[in-house]
Symmetry: C2
Subunit: 505 residues, 2 copies
């Protein structure tokens, strides 16, 4: 029994799919029919302002509409927008717009069917269990943060148990927490349980204590039963869209769940995976974490979205867009520039094409996707479709497991930000933070160097000084934080905020 219908349930206006069950069924029935969809990575230029999107989701929606119009069975896998920062704020819903829209964007914008909320509750429950463990003398301190789905600047630094023990805490946005990472990276509920058990709750006498040592795992996995099921919706033109996993590749991994992508590849010929903010955040994480370390499929093509204004208006930063396109091409991923126009910019198309030619890009895809949707793209996709259909099904490059952390970060800085190893600077305090993290891992019986590196950075800058000349740019490493359950080590770079908790704008 490997019919996806048997794994699909109606939830109001969307469907939800038992992706774990479906993937298990495919595994158990190797001869059952399935597709082997190719992955297209939609990423973007580094935005000038993090609060104004380049239009990755709008592009993704227009693209599947255009491909389906050309007779290609294409689906998209989107990340669930962070309700607070997008829908509540001025940025918009992170669910496309105009003709490149979903049928029920309000559902996606305002919490879907409670996936993010369940993850928030489960992460906060872990903190409460840790608090109970402190009361019982099993733990001296807590290393997991509470989360909030609603942004609030005053939650960046809080003191809990005020007037008594006055414990300093920070609150992070739900999509950035370790439990969200675990949901994104796991292929089964068992794996989620194992990873939650391996999460470091805090320390006792200086040694790591994992949640597996004191909680009932079933409480957490029961809580996540609905959250692990991708939602299925569609574009206003009827193209299939799966929504699962949280955003924010600046401060976390920011990728859709691997299970939802794998499921989509079994059901469709082309699967668009959206990952951002810019390529330095989203694409880097999809390639170097999801593919290289967690077995996700390497992209058969990529699209790098920019605005004409992002590409054009700040000459000092104009190096970034071609850098991203070149980097992906060098990885043998056919990479297509896509310029998402604002109203009134149509007359700039010839100049944009000229610039693309000068830069030796593939022919750029250009359109006002909000206004025209997939229709603006369909006639421009010949080269893209040729590259995709004709291309191979590439394997991901080898893992970096075992590579010392600093070497790994230097490699990322060189590959993804164009800053060579010698200009990766260790800030005062970084060495001690690294030692501490190493000792914490050792006491938990795991190795820091076996973890995938999550570069925590500003969404709008690639280096310490993007406006400096190429030979002067540096990257500074500030501190290290271990997410042992997710198998990730966070390294805070450069201009990153220490707490990813925005305010409503």
């Amino acid at each position: 029994m490997t019919d996806i219908k048997d794994f699909t349930s109606q939830y109001g206006l969307v469907e939800k799919i038992d992706a774990f069950g479906y993937l298990d069924a495919l595994k158990a029935n190797p001869d059952a029919p399935r597709k082997h969809g190719k992955i297209v990575l939609v990423t973007a230029d580094t935005p000038l302002m993090a609060s104004r999107g380049e239009g990755k989701t709008t592009t993704t929606i227009a693209l599947i509409d255009a491909l389906n119009k050309r007779g290609i069975d294409a689906a998209a896998v989107l990340r669930q927008p962070s309700m607070g920062i997008t829908a509540a704020g001025s940025k918009g819903g992170a669910s496309g717009g105009g003709k490149a829209s979903l049928t029920h964007p309000e559902l996606i914008d305002w919490g879907l069917t409670g996936e993010m909320a369940a993850i928030a509750a489960a992460q906060n429950l872990l903190v409460s269990f840790a608090e109970k463990a402190i009361d019982e003398g099993r733990l001296d301190d807590i290393l997991v943060p509470r989360v909030s789905e609603v942004p609030s600047r005053s939650l960046r630094a809080i003191t809990v148990d005020a007037g008594k023990n006055n414990v300093a805490e920070k609150v992070v946005l739900t999509p950035t927490c370790e439990l969200m990472q675990i949901v994104c990276l796991s292929r089964s509920m068992d794996e989620i349980g194992r990873r939650v058990a391996a999460m470091i709750a805090g320390t006792k006498d200086g040694k790591a204590v994992t949640f597996g040592e004191f909680i009932d795992l079933w409480r957490i996995t029961d809580m996540l039963a609905g959250a692990v099921m991708p939602a299925k919706t569609e574009t206003v033109n009827g193209s299939p869209v799966y929504v699962h996993g949280g955003p924010f590749a600046n401060v976390s991994i920011g990728i859709p769940t691997l299970a939802s992508v794998q499921m989509a590849c079994s059901l469709h010929d082309v699967v668009i995976v959206e990952a951002g903010y810019g390529a330095d955040a989203g694409a880097q994480k999809w390639l170097d974490i999801a593919c290289r370390e967690y077995g996700a499929q390497w992209p058969s093509a990529a699209i790098v979205v920019t605005r004409a204004s992002t590409w054009r208006d700040d000459p000092e930063l104009a190096w970034r867009y071609p850098f991203h396109v070149d980097r992906l091409e060098k990885l043998d991923i056919p990479t297509f520039p896509l310029v998402n126009l604002w109203d009134g910019e149509d007359d700039q198309i010839p100049a944009l094409r000229d610039t693309a030619k000068e830069l030796e890009f593939r022919d750029p895809i250009i359109g006002n996707l909000y206004r025209d949707g997939g229709e603006a793209l369909a006639p421009q996709l010949d080269q893209f479709v040729d590259a995709l259909v004709g291309g191979s099904m590439p394997a991901a490059p080898h893992s970096h497991k075992g590579m010392p952390l600093v070497e790994n970060v230097r490699w990322i800085a060189e590959q993804a930000y164009g800053v060579p190893a010698e200009r990766v600077v260790l800030k005062d305090g970084f060495a001690s933070s690294l030692t501490e993290a190493n000792e914490l891992c050792m006491s938990a019986g795991v190795s820091l160097d076996d973890m995938a590196v999550v570069a925590v950075k500003s969404p709008a800058t690639m280096t310490d000084n993007d406006r400096a000349g190429e030979d002067e740019r540096t990257v500074t490493l500030k501190k290290v934080e271990v997410h042992a359950g997710a198998g990730l080590v966070h390294v805070n770079l450069t201009t990153s905020l220490t707490t990813p908790m925005p305010k409503i704008v």
Copy 2:
């Protein structure tokens, strides 16, 4: 079009119903067929320990199974359990148990389809908007608390914006917040919008500022779109059960949503409404707030659940159970004692019946409902069914609108706790708290005396000194808090906690 099916959508294993839409349709089609179900209030003895339920939900489930077995179309309306304190803790799921169970208790226990989470997010978003209003100089302070669905003792008192402005806050459990009260009391999304607009966000220059003065209401109502739809599930024996609205009649109103109850009355002949903790909390609030002030239907019968142990084991507190039964009888509500046995207590049935006789109770209904479910009740329901079927459809007594707050509280103390007006004591600070609340209301253009009183109290005590003689018991009023949007004024009594934020036990 008044077929409930047209207002019902599948959400995984449960259904959700557009109750507002259905009630509107009935109103617009006065000749359309509908039922006029009678309400049975299931409440309980004051528990010896708040962490151990008497079994209201188990009773409610067993009761509808027993009534349906007798050919009576009976449904239950349950409150959605508070995920953290019940499912995560030792208390259990607040969704029945054993033979008196729901088909999918795990769904109800762990957040249903995100209703509570959406209300939490919306209430927290209101706080974030208020914070933005402070930044913009429109507000000097914030009077609405943040909420958490997960209990955590260290959230009882927190300091936010730590290291900068160091603002003291408390965090309350989601079900106790004003937005949950608004969802429970409103009959339409318009009413919710109006009530959110009337919520007092904080003050500017000493005067109340309401949310209507600075937020986009649609963001809050959009967020609540799914939360206002009751869920429909069923017992393992197939009896219909609606789940909607939050618990905790000790620190809030603790009633199911009025819309879900009204809807159920249009669909079934008998509707069981569950309200607790004890009758001094849940029944008092259903009668004096829901019915008297908000137009809910007055019960045609009541059942007061106790444990043999609660009734029997502490002679000093044994006055409470007959007090509750007598009080309801005096209100012309036929009231049936029900003793929910633990294992090994069957041999006590004759003694329990004797005691009931001495107290001049109606014949008590006695059974081990966990073990035997509705089968234990069905043969004992003759008197109950006679009273219910033969009884009238009573109107709620007149409103207390305009009654001065202290007089209103004294009336409640006398009626619901057996403490006469002269032994209702105003604690130091109460008078100034009342004056402050009055001034706040006046500056918002509303009158404190027009609001329904919510007595905030311990779930396990009725007075300052339940163990004292009847003539010595007192009730102390501590402070006043206004929920202008919900139209409620909270008065903290006696032993109430100042912050209803438990820890995980």
